[in-house]
């Protein structure tokens, strides 16, 4: 059976890691490629790079990052942030990413999901959704609303309805990011994740709120997530990928164990 995937995300601004990441080694400062390679060697299963560059003039810097990551990191990775057209997506895929991550642009223009999935296959399209808890209404019966622009703009769109619509439009995977849980380190939004996982037939990646390995265990079992996004747990050096996987494996979760960088027959 498939292993549960541990995925991490790196925020990149104008080619440098955003400051939310604390570095253990001084020579690592600022370079997303170095950080990505470090996680790759620790046994991370997949990576996401969010380009948070403010000016669209500087987006070509991101393509250089993508290309350098692809030269050194031999696991799948996706790129998100500022992708508004099929051409934008084409550029990051040609630079070496396996998948694109679309969020606000898909809410504003749902046909983007279909266009990208027809051009590159649904496996290349990850639909990311930011979700906030609200009192249930007629428009939002689940009590979970889609928000965009980093959580600032509510869309009066039910998260469960958007998830199933996203699948129909051609998304291959969903990232479900809870704005309420994000940054709390108090655990993932189990109920939301489970509701979405039960509503769709594509993999669901839980995001927001992970603070300790127990939280990953909860969302992978009770929350029925196929994969889980971890950020600060790794970025602040509190845990390694290996330590997280060892914990999960001990609890009976199937995770991928790795051999590090050395090839087995390279010592000759």
């Amino acid at each position: 059976m498939l292993s549960k995937r541990i995925i991490s995300c790196l925020d990149v601004r104008e080619g440098k890691l955003a400051k939310s990441i604390k570095f253990l080694e001084t020579r690592d400062i600022g370079d997303p490629v170095v950080q990505a390679h470090k996680y790759y060697l620790q046994g991370l299963d997949e990576l996401v790079f969010y380009d948070i560059t403010a000016s669209s003039d500087n987006r070509s810097i991101m393509l250089n990052v993508v290309s350098r990551v692809a030269e050194q990191v031999f696991i799948p990775f996706s790129v998100g942030g500022g992708l508004r057209t099929v051409d934008d997506c084409s550029r990051v895929l040609l630079a070496g990413a396996e998948k694109v991550n679309i969020n606000s642009a898909a809410v504003k223009n749902p046909s983007l999901i279909t266009e990208v999935s027809q051009a590159f296959g649904s496996q290349a399209v990850v639909l990311s959704m930011d979700v906030r808890r609200v009192p249930p209404t007629l428009e939002i019966p689940s009590g979970y609303e889609i928000v965009i622009n980093g959580g600032r703009t509510p869309m009066e769109l039910d998260a469960i309805a958007w998830a199933t619509r996203g699948e129909e439009l051609g998304a291959g995977e969903l990232v479900v990011n809870s704005i309420d849980a994000d940054g709390t380190k108090a655990g993932y939004e189990i109920r939301l994740t489970r509701m979405i996982a039960e509503a769709v037939h594509i993999p669901v990646i839980a995001s927001g709120g992970g603070g300790k390995p127990e939280h990953l265990y909860e969302v992978l079992t009770e929350g029925r997530a196929d994969a889980v996004l971890v950020a600060s747990m790794l970025h602040y050096g509190e845990y390694t990928v290996g330590a997280i996987k060892k914990y999960l494996a001990g609890k009976g979760i199937k995770v991928r164990m790795t051999i590090g960088e050395d090839l087995r027959n390279s010592v000759e």
Binding site: S3, R5, D45, F74, G121, M257, T258
Partner: protein, 203 residues
């Protein structure tokens, strides 16, 4: 020198980058003459089987690959390159190159809880030893993205299986041809190991 066959079916650059990382000389080519005379070939691909087969036929790469196979050139197929070496694919109901008898079959009726495509990391069980699987150990995992899988007629051409609801073939081979359903080029050190094994495979 390894020639990576370019037939507009995706991910050639990740294969090239894996070879570069291993220090193995390589070139990408869509020229049937170069493929026909290549010393060693990687036949990669993502996408749709019928589309891939049509491009191969229109470019003349189909006969170039067949010739290379029959003259004994070592060939490694990856993903779509593992599917269209069979006689037929259900994806787009297309004939394949027929280098290994069999069909490429859709995952279905494997229980409602199984998501299709089969995407992510899965362990591979080796059913027959092969030089390309040297140093791959039980429990090693590779990265998969696919909705169809190879089903050879002759079960002795199966070298490894994975489990998704039930076992299915993931590595098949015949003579100088070996092919894997998973993306070795995106499977970390284990995948690089397999590619390195192929580069050193003497038939």
């Amino acid at each position: 020198m390894i020639t990576i066959v370019d037939y507009k079916a995706g991910n050639l650059t990740s294969v090239r980058r894996a070879l570069d990382h291993l220090g193995i000389p390589n070139q990408i080519s869509s020229d049937p003459r170069i493929v026909r005379n290549a010393k060693r070939i990687i036949f990669p691909g993502v996408g749709h089987a019928a589309t891939a087969m049509r491009v191969l036929q229109e470019s003349g790469l189909d006969s170039a690959l067949k010739e290379a196979f029959y003259r004994g050139t070592p060939i490694l197929g990856i993903c779509i390159g593992c599917q269209i070496i069979l006689s037929h694919s259900e994806e787009g109901d297309t004939p394949g190159l027929d280098l290994i008898p069999g069909v490429c079959t859709h995952f279905q009726d494997r229980g409602a809880s199984l998501k299709i495509p089969h995407m992510g990391w899965n362990a591979v069980a080796i059913t027959q030893s092969h030089p390309i699987l040297r140093n791959i150990l039980p429990g090693d995992e590779f990265y998969f993205v696919h909705s169809y899988y190879p089903q050879p007629t002759d079960l002795t051409t199966i070298y490894a299986t994975s489990d998704y609801g039930e076992p299915f073939p993931v590595a098949i081979g015949s003579k100088n041809l070996f092919a894997v359903q998973f993306h070795a080029e995106k499977s970390g050190a284990i995948g690089l190991q397999l590619i390195k094994n192929f580069a050193g495979w003497n038939i």
